[in-house]
């Protein structure tokens, strides 16, 4: 067994990420990776009567996070953090959406039944006192207490304007409303964006007060406000609709950020690559080609277009070989390598990190 070389060192990792945001480099690119745990994970036992109870049980969720963080070797620039989480529709709960919980994710019930109901939506201020936001707040508090500075508490998953609209009305209805009442949808989308910005500011202040840097489920580091703008909804619409209606909401949502990495999800989202690359102030791109559409090396042309536009990249590689292929093709500047398949042991992981070093002259 080799000594624990390449263990996570906050200051070193932070410096690598700060350089990466600028498409620059300290030594090698940041690398996120995971190692299979040497012993079976002893996850806390759930005695909850329902999935909802389990998802909303703060102590249980923080217990699970701690078990994972304490069991796994933390190497490279893998940010050891906990994501307070109730699923991807947290933002929609600001407008009364109730969540339905599954084993691995949650969904929200629609609260805008008719097109005319957008007026009511626009007149409704976001509700930060609903059960889901109170739970997220409690998760942040409890995690910070129990972690005692050993691990980070991450910014929860916030979806932006048109994903909020899709959450409360259903994506098909939003599509139809865009055709029938586009100005009404525009007003609703900007209202949702302002709520998103308020949500981000509140959470950012909350986490900063607890001494946390910016990180989230996309585990970069930054000392100021940073986040991952996204829009799943825009996969459904034309370039013209995206430009006219979606772009202003994304720009509004990026306004408070010092650093941003766009979550471009799925082959259909590539349709909007050029529009995304023109977003003012965007630093980086996370291209999620999705299951069945890999490996990352297949998407070199997309990566080249992003780099040519001055954007840094998070490469979501299937495995180490895939990551090294991309690194050899593109060079180390502007890359953050994330290896999605866990390494068999720490020796293999450290060997990989050594190789990345060698390939980063």
């Amino acid at each position: 067994m080799k000594p624990p070389a390449h263990r996570f060192i906050p200051e070193v990792a932070s410096a690598r990420y700060e350089a990466w945001w600028r498409c620059a480099r300290v030594d090698r690119p940041p690398v996120s990776l995971w190692v299979k745990t040497p012993h079976p994970l002893r996850a806390p036992r759930s005695t909850h009567a329902t999935l909802r109870e389990r998802w909303l049980d703060v102590e249980y969720q923080v217990d699970c996070a701690l078990t994972g963080l304490e069991t796994n070797p933390i190497l490279g620039d893998t940010v050891p953090s906990y994501l307070p989480n109730v699923g991807p529709d947290l933002s929609s709960t600001l407008f009364g959406a109730e969540l339905v919980f599954g084993e691995n994710t949650s969904w929200c019930q629609h609260t805008v039944p008719e097109t005319a109901d957008w007026e009511r939506f626009i007149a409704t201020p976001p509700d930060f006192d609903n059960v889901y936001w109170r739970t997220i707040d409690a998760m942040i508090t409890r995690a910070a207490e129990r972690f005692a500075g050993r691990y980070y508490v991450a910014m929860p998953d916030l979806h932006g304007s048109f994903d909020i609209l899709a959450g409360v009305r259903g994506p098909e209805n939003v599509c139809l409303d865009l055709m029938d009442e586009p100005e009404l949808v525009r007003r609703a989308s900007l209202h949702a964006s302002r709520a998103y910005v308020e949500a981000y500011r509140r959470l950012y202040q909350r986490l900063t007060a607890l001494g946390q840097p910016s990180t989230t489920w996309c585990s970069y580091l930054h000392t100021g406000p940073a986040y991952i703008p996204s829009c799943d909804f825009w996969c459904l619409v034309s370039k013209e609709i995206a430009q006219e209606y979606v772009r202003p909401t994304i720009e509004l949502e990026m306004a408070p950020l010092e650093r941003s990495i766009f979550h471009l999800d799925g082959p259909q989202a590539l349709h909007h690559l050029d529009l995304m690359l023109r977003l003012p102030g965007l630093n980086a791109v996370q291209w999620v080609f999705g299951s069945g559409h890999g490996p990352a090396a297949k998407w070199i042309d997309v990566y080249r277009r992003c780099l040519a536009a001055g954007k840094a990249l998070q490469i979501l590689a299937d495995d180490p070989a895939d990551a090294l292929t991309v690194l050899r093709e593109l060079g180390p500047d502007g890359l953050w390598l994330t290896i999605c398949t866990p390494f068999a042991n720490t020796d293999e992981a450290t060997d990989f990190l050594d190789t990345v070093h060698r390939l980063s002259p």
């Binding site: 339905v100 599954g102 084993e103 691995n104 994710t105 969904w107 994506p171 098909e172 599509c175 139809l176 865009l178 055709m179 459904l236 619409v237 034309s238 609709i241 799925g266 349709h271 999705g290 299951s291 069945g292 559409h293």
Partner: protein, 212 residues
């Protein structure tokens, strides 16, 4: 009397009011409801499917076209029922167990209806047993399985296994969804894979032997 091609153009452009008006005018002029469906409406949705495949239109434009056709069918279906005319093929569709996403399923459902299939929508989170029972009940020619989550792909595999084991005559299985590929379809023994809602019509027609 308006020409059927005007109706086709109105559907393809998603012009609901024009589609309804033209349908009523064609009926008043004595055009048979079945002719209006097969020669006016279905070609309109075929144009929509082709444009969708070529990324010339997107989901909102497809939805308004399907809505226009649906309005016309509200007028025509009672007349077709009286005449005892039913679509030749029946398709079931649902999102597999554990998955509550429905937009992909709904788009394909619309396009199949637009191609004059009778469509039974089983909804989301559909168990293998529910698929099988519905396939038997409706004598389905096509069973469509949708999944958006990689975590529900095993449920798709299990559903295909159970449907195949039933050996139902004339039933073909189609799958689709964001994480689904032709390779996965081959691996689990599905008869067809559709990458998008436009292609889903071509594949379904091919599987039932109705390809143009």
């Amino acid at each position: 009397m308006p020409h059927l091609t005007e109706l086709t153009a109105a559907v393809a452009a998603g012009k609901r009011t024009d589609t309804v008006r033209l349908t009523q005018e064609l009926l008043a002029a004595g055009v048979a409801p079945q002719t209006i469906v097969e020669t006016g409406l279905v070609p309109g949705m075929a144009i929509v499917g082709d444009k969708f495949k070529r990324n010339e239109i997107f989901v909102p434009e497809m939805l308004v076209a399907a809505r226009a056709m649906k309005e016309a069918l509200k007028i025509l279906e009672p007349l077709l029922a009286i005449a005892g005319i039913k679509p030749k093929y029946t398709a079931l569709i649902g999102t597999v167990q554990g998955d509550l996403h429905d937009i992909g399923k709904n788009l394909i459902s619309m396009m199949w209806r637009g191609a004059n299939f009778a469509v039974v929508d089983l909804g989301t989170n559909v168990s293998p047993d529910k698929y099988l029972a519905a396939a038997v009940e409706h004598k389905a020619n096509i069973v469509g399985l949708s999944a958006l989550l990689t975590t529900t792909m095993p449920a798709m595999k299990e559903t295909v296994r159970i449907l195949k084991a039933a050996n139902l005559p004339d039933m073909k299985i189609m799958i689709g969804g964001a994480p689904i590929t032709q390779a996965f379809a081959d691996e689990i023994g599905a008869d067809g894979y559709a990458a998008d809602a436009g292609t889903a019509v071509d594949i379904a027609r091919k599987l039932v032997g109705a390809a143009a």
